[in-house]
């Protein structure tokens, strides 16, 4: 048993000053608002520190673009055909990627790893913990979403190959076609008439049954609206990724999406569709009551600075508590794993980070990081 004592705790929902967190067998078994010590435990003094749930990034490509490995070692995008719903990003995560260790040592403990945005339908993403060892063994949720992509990226991968899609219209058409095929497949499966298993269709069928959401990469407002229309048409659950122009369509997003995974905003806009890049967007959306997570989109911006991106959102008007939620409990909810991670509460996994300063302080360092109760830093 370990007990983290003192300091300022952000549980994911509220602040507790001078409390205690009890950890045993990889789980949080108790959270007290005041100190109470049991003798036989290992006491870890956290006075003066800031304790947060292990940080979560709901949109990364970690291990798919291994840092420093070069141009041939890229696995995030199957750019040979536009609809690949059955690909698993986790089959390509390299455990040797130094980015995993670096992020972990800065307090990021879990991420959603997903195919990229070359394909209108890219494949299945998983939630994994940033531990060493076999990626498939570090899975929290193997099927946590299917990646869709709208906008410029698919157009510029397939257009030059003289393949569909060359236009936004074609992206939407390909997606609709695939979802109707899946619907039909679902009907045949139910009736068991001329039924043959098709791995591509199975993934889309699970989407139609709302077992996990569509994770729709969309920067511009029109692409966001297209995603919303498709959601209405098929009744699927929807999360908007990046949501760069989200402020423009916030009224349409309210109540319709599970949430928005906003970012990366640290950088210049390289494309017309991302001209509205801004750290103000998370705050604006949060004020509307939309569930907002902040993302690095690693390796577009480094995963290890996740707390800094939240700090920038705070700087640009997001409330402190909302910005903290956006890198802890909110992504956990969006990923459907909030029963296990995302907050410091009784019964949850002991994924915890102890910073020496407020996590929004540029000089803050993660001094201790726990995953499943084990100290990894």
């Amino acid at each position: 048993m370990k007990i983290l004592v003192g300091g300022m705790i952000f549980t994911g929902k509220e602040f507790i000053e001078g409390g205690a967190i009890y950890i045993e067998n990889g789980k949080i078994i108790k959270v007290l608002k005041r100190k109470y010590l049991r003798n036989e435990a290992e006491i870890i003094d956290c006075s003066g520190k800031y304790i947060l749930p292990g940080l979560i990034d709901a949109h990364t490509h970690i291990g798919l673009y291994e840092e420093g490995a070069g141009r041939d070692y890229t696995d995030g995008n199957e750019m040979t055909k536009p609809v690949t719903p059955h690909l698993y990003a986790i089959d390509a995560v390299s455990p040797h990627d130094v980015a995993i260790k670096r992020a972990r040592e800065n307090g990021v403990t879990s991420v959603f790893v997903t195919p990229g945005s070359a394909n209108p339908i890219g494949g299945i993403g998983s939630v994994i913990k940033l531990k060493d060892g076999l990626p498939h063994k570090n899975v929290v949720k193997k099927e946590a979403g299917v990646k869709f992509a709208f906008g410029e990226n698919p157009k510029f991968v397939y257009g030059p190959q003289k393949k569909m899609p060359m236009t936004r219209m074609a992206i939407a058409a390909l997606i609709r076609e695939s979802l109707y095929k899946a619907k039909y497949y679902g009907e045949k499966k139910k009736r068991k008439r001329d039924f043959e298993t098709d791995v591509e269709m199975e993934a889309l069928l699970k989407l139609l049954r709302r077992e996990f959401p569509v994770r729709a990469h969309a920067h511009r407002h029109d692409d966001i609206m297209t995603a919303l229309r498709i959601k209405e048409e098929f009744g699927v659950d929807l999360v908007i990724e990046h949501c760069t122009s989200g402020a423009k369509v916030k009224d349409h997003l309210k109540g319709k999406v599970i949430g928005c995974v906003v970012g990366p905003a640290f950088g210049v806009s390289t494309k017309p569709e991302s001209r509205d890049i801004s750290f103000e967007t998370p705050g604006i959306l949060a004020k509307e009551g939309i569930l907002v997570a902040i993302t690095s989109d690693h390796p577009v911006t480094p995963l290890k600075y996740l707390n800094i991106y939240a700090a920038m959102a705070f700087k640009e008007g997001m409330e402190e508590i909302e910005a903290l939620k956006a890198i802890t409990i909110n992504p956990a909810k969006i990923l459907g794993v909030e029963k296990r991670i995302g907050s410091i509460e009784k019964g949850k996994d002991a994924d915890i980070v102890v910073f020496n300063r407020h996590p929004f302080d540029l000089l803050a360092r993660a001094e201790m990081v726990f995953i499943d109760g084990e100290r990894v830093k």
């Binding site: 490995a69 199957e78 040979t80 089959d91």
Partner: protein
Amino acid sequence: MKVIRAGTLLTMRNNKVLEDVNIIIEGDKIIEVKGGPPPDADEVIDARDHYVMPSFYDAHTHIGVAEEGAGFDYYDINEATDPSTPGLQGKDAIYPGDIGFKDAQAAGVSVCITGPGSSNVIGGLQAVIRTKGNTVEEMIIKEPAGLKMSFGRNPQFYWREQKKFPSTRMGVSALIREYFEKARNYRKKKEKDKTGVDPNMEALLLVLDRKIPARIHVANMEDISTIFELQDEYNIDITLEHVTEGHLIVDEIVKRDIPCVVGPFFVAGKSIQTRFLTARTAAILSEKGVRVALMTDHPAIPIHFIRHQAALAYKAGMDKFKALEAITSQAAEIIGIGDQYGTIEEGKKANIVILSDGPFKASSRVLYHIMEGEIVWKES
């Protein structure tokens, strides 16, 4: 009847080194191994000053299929026009006149497994062959002996260059799932419809029905991890070939008791895929109880250096006897012929090599190579 008078004998049944023993051969089999004076025989080979052991088994080659010395046009090793070609049979491409076979005979290598290469994700069926014969029919010992599958750099880079699916690791495993599902559907259909026999699907069913293993070329942890997932999803028998990063995840391999064919330890420069390549892999896996065989991957390393692969493994810390088993008894077992081959004991096939000195000695030469009772090589 032939008799070999062995000065030093390694039977490879166990770790014992026998001295002054007679091996009695009748036809293609060993009928007795015993000490004392030698019985009368038509032929007596005096090896009293030499080392006698089972001849060698190379558990992963492309001999005969990738013909040596003839240039790239004669490489029949990869039908790289489609990433999945399970119905191809390696035996149809074996050229018995490949100079590699002569080298194998002169080096004491009696048996190899051979077949398609690693450009395709699902490459085709493999055959276990003896290294002597004028026709493939004379050479085959067992076939099909496995289904070749490949993960990682080889298939991925090839298809990426072709701009065809699969160009990513995600694509490789997705392709395999697609084909296994198709095979399962085919199996159901077959029960009703006898007119739709598909040789590609038949080959996959051999694996799904656990009649043959999938022998999977793999280097990296993420691919090994994916293979474990597939093994669980489809309940198939597998071996791991090369398994370059295997020493980084020994425990899981031990838990699943997967045989590993490790090597070759002589790769031209290390890429990102092979940055952890080390001869230590064989030692570390073997120490933990994993069944390990070695390979030359001929023609990647010429076949007659199989003995040196074992020497290098031993140098890197593998137990001496385990290193020798990895090119004899354990290799024979992993390629599926362990019941009749691989050791010197009564009832087994008379596959024997007589060396001038210990197997790991630099100057040691092959004096005799006996294959199923027949002398196929003799030093002149």
